[in-house]
């Protein structure tokens, strides 16, 4: 079993499971094949642990299935996405199934069961789920040929990069920057919507981003989806074993580790800049400012709820000067949603809306602990909502301002009256939107006033218009903090010098007065 090379905090629970598994298992691959599972016992475990999603009949249509994307596996087809047998051999290795059950699949509702089921339990479940497709007697005949692994190196990555882009081999679906910005609508064999993996977010890889696992995916493809095998001799885009290692090394190198959400990062640090603020989304000045990335989750507290998001993180940078502040929001979105645009309509789900993003602040910065309710405030504690909308075929992008006291009490206001602006730009699977506003509120009873050194609650929301996200169907965060770093100027330095000088002077005086006296005993 290849150890996971990259483990985000998002999957720390999984990491624990894996570490536990690695420390207690002696070569799972061999033990899996050595001991047969008991399908009768597996049936009991399945009914208790698996049937709610995968269905009592194993058809992937359990009561939980309807609200899950990706949908739970349909075992009656006997087709598995993540396996290490050849692309033309439908039968998976037991070790492939074992690993998926024990470790789970990041980015899906499938958890790792290694902390709840014993190895024997898992083998029993495998024996049982194979009966749904009559696979119990089948043995895989073709295994993936790994040849000799090419270790990652700048040369290998450069070769991989060229192969990735050559004839749009991989970039066609995974995008020029690897963000999975599809140029066509992808579906699996069952008709369910599928999204090409965003290769810059390795914590969403279903079976790890270890180059060996990536090699396996490139070689086998993902059966039942439009991810093909690049080992298939019939394919015009086929690659040799060595070439596949180069591509695997390149893909592994795309991980954007600076955009991993970390639970300890709860504060957006807003830096003071001299002179003009960066207001263009692609101003290089943004890169010099610290960024904080937050996880997004679908809206589940107000009607209508939303269960199948496509956006999963948002990255924030911010700066202020003497009079105003600017906030850059950056998030990967596979589709630019332009209602009324034929090409965008082709990729989108029916009823496409604009892509949108919003920032929420309390109108009054709380003095104590008590904040407005994180879901659009409450009767006694209103919030400011700043929303940017991407525009349609006949309408340019726009900014909106509203005050809310709960989901049902929303008052739309003129953004110009508060000096609020927003500008966005879409590039290769990523939106970047800059909001600006003066630090002082033009109407202090309705708008937040920004003061340095204050911890101000802040929350975010995002809409992927091509994923059916409109109105209350969107992704969001809970409250985090927004802090304009106080400009302390030279005060700390000057104070430190004064203290050091006073200490030094006192010592000198002491030493001189001691020198004037004769040391004791010599007198």
């Amino acid at each position: 079993m290849a150890a996971r090379r990259f483990i985000s905090p998002l999957w720390s629970c999984l990491a624990f499971t894996l570490a536990f598994g690695l420390s207690t298992l002696v070569l799972p691959v061999t033990t899996v094949q050595a001991e047969a599972g008991n399908a009768e016992r597996g049936k009991l475990i399945y009914a208790r642990r698996c049937a709610l999603c995968h269905g009592e009949e194993g058809d992937g249509a359990g009561p939980g299935a309807e609200r899950l994307n990706p949908p739970p596996r349909d075992f009656t087809e006997g087709q598995y996405k993540f396996k290490t047998t050849g692309f033309d051999d439908i039968v998976p290795n037991d070790a492939d199934l074992f690993r998926m059950i024990r470790d789970g699949m990041p980015g899906t509702a499938m958890p790792g069961w290694g902390d709840m089921l014993s190895d024997q339990d898992i083998r029993d479940v495998i024996a049982f789920i194979k009966t749904f497709a009559g696979l119990e007697e089948e043995k895989p005949t073709i295994q993936v040929d790994y040849g000799r692994q090419v270790p990652s190196s700048p040369e290998s990555i450069a070769k991989g990069r060229a192969l990735f882009h050559e004839g749009d081999r991989c970039a066609e679906c995974h995008g020029a920057e690897g963000r999975g910005d599809a140029i066509k609508k992808l579906k699996d064999d069952g008709g369910a919507r599928t999204w090409p993996r965003n290769l810059t977010k390795p914590w969403t890889f279903r079976a790890s981003n270890d180059p060996k696992d990536i090699f396996t995916r490139i070689t086998v493809g993902i059966p039942g989806t439009q991810m093909p095998s690049f080992a298939d001799p019939k394919s015009k885009k086929r690659l040799t074993i060595e070439e596949r290692w180069h591509v695997a090394n390149y893909v592994a190198s795309l991980a954007k580790t600076d955009k991993v959400p970390r639970p300890e990062n709860t504060v957006v640090k807003v830096m003071k800049v001299e002179g003009a603020l960066p207001t263009a989304p692609d101003d290089p000045a943004w890169e010099k400012l610290p960024s904080t990335t937050f996880l997004l989750l679908p809206q589940l507290i107000a009607k209508t709820r939303f269960f199948t998001p496509s956006n999963d993180t948002i990255t924030v940078r911010a700066a202020y000067n003497d009079t105003a502040l600017a906030i850059l929001l950056e998030w990967d979105d596979r589709t630019r949603s332009i209602p009324g645009d034929p090409k965008a309509e082709e990729i989108a789900d029916p009823g496409m809306g604009e892509d949108m993003v919003a920032i929420q602040f309390p109108v009054a910065v709380p003095k104590g602990m008590k904040k407005p309710y994180f879901g659009m405030g409450d009767g006694a504690h209103p919030v400011n909502l700043w929303q940017w909308r991407s525009g349609t075929a006949d309408k340019p992008q726009s900014v909106a301002l509203a005050n809310a006291r709960g989901f049902a009490r929303i008052e739309s206001r003129d953004p110009a009256s508060a000096g609020l602006t927003a500008r966005g730009r879409y590039d290769k699977g990523r939106w970047r939107v800059v909001f600006t506003r003066p630090l002082a509120a033009s109407s202090p009873d309705k708008d937040i006033t920004f003061q340095t050194g204050q911890f101000i609650p802040i929350a975010f929301a995002a809409w992927d218009g091509s994923n059916g996200e409109t109105g209350s169907k969107h992704t969001m965060t809970t409250w985090y903090w927004f802090l304009l770093e106080p400009d302390t100027g030279l005060r700390p330095l000057v104070s430190a010098l004064i203290v050091a000088f006073l200490f030094g002077a006192a010592e000198l005086w002491w030493a001189r007065s001691a020198g004037a006296r004769k040391p004791e005993g010599e007198a």
Binding site: G62, V267, I301, K303, D378, T478, A496, V499, A500, P519
Partner: protein
């Protein structure tokens, strides 16, 4: 013998050794043996009193005070120690300056938010347009566990379906509080497998928490940050009771009951 040895150590060093010894012992006992580290701010306060106490004990007599001061006086007055003195005299102002500088910089640590996880429940609460009395409220389906086990199994199974369609997103397939969206939440979803959650609570308490959700929490539990939905907006009353049956059945915990 021991006393003789001790008296050969200079008084100042002895005092320093006592202070360090107390610090190490406290750390070893609380962090090591008891597994409950003392917060840094509390430790600073304790050590302040320890240092003052030790200083007072060592300077209680005039002789003691002179013994304490002797090495410091020697450092300043003994010409042989002049190189050491110069180094100490350079380091002390530098340390004082550095300390002042770091203290003057503003703290950028996020404020700590303390909240009660299982707040005391009210005696009555309103949901579904009526008032419930938490003292007498019982799960109407619990009796079937004994009276009609087959019907009870069917009710648990229905609870499971409701759970997987509504609750697993945060509380997880395994009821361990680690659903697919849990990492995006703070406070984190409750882990029902843990012996410190539903095993300590009555079914009526769970009904109150589920029906009124985050906004129904009392002030000390910070209702404004809890992302628990107000389930009376999404589930029927008997659906909540069925989910509660499922929570206890899947985890193997028993609900707490009034002493009879």
């Amino acid at each position: 013998m021991m006393g003789r040895l001790l008296s050969r150590i200079p008084a100042l060093l002895r005092a320093a050794l006592v202070v360090v010894g107390i610090y190490l012992a406290a750390t070893a006992i609380f962090s090591g043996l008891l597994g409950q580290p003392i917060p840094a701010s509390l430790m600073t306060m304790y050590m302040f009193f320890v240092i003052v106490g030790v200083f007072m004990a060592f300077t209680f007599t005039e002789e003691g005070a002179r013994a304490m001061a002797a090495p410091i006086r020697a450092l300043v007055e003994n010409p042989a120690l002049r190189p050491v003195r110069n180094i100490v005299f350079l380091l002390v102002p530098l340390a004082a300056g550095a300390f002042t500088y770091t203290k003057m910089l503003p703290s950028l640590e996020a404020p700590v938010e303390l909240r009660t996880i299982h707040p005391a429940p009210p005696s009555t609460f309103k949901a579904y347009g009526k008032r419930y009395d938490l003292l007498t409220l019982e799960n109407p389906f619990r009796k079937y566990e004994k009276e009609d086990p087959e019907r009870f199994r069917a009710l648990v199974a229905e609870g499971g379906k409701i759970y997987i369609r509504n609750c697993q997103f945060c509380h997880g397939d395994k009821l361990n509080g680690r659903g697919p969206f849990a990492p995006a939440l703070n406070p984190v979803p409750l882990n029902f497998q843990d012996v410190g959650t539903i095993a300590q609570l009555q079914e009526s308490y769970l009904f109150w928490r589920i029906a009124t959700g985050g906004p129904g929490l009392p002030e000390e539990a910070a209702p404004w940050i809890s992302s628990m939905p107000v389930w009376q907006n999404f589930l029927k009353e008997d659906e909540i009771w069925k989910v509660i049956l499922f929570l206890y059945d899947y985890t193997g915990h028993r609900p707490r009951a009034w002493e009879k």
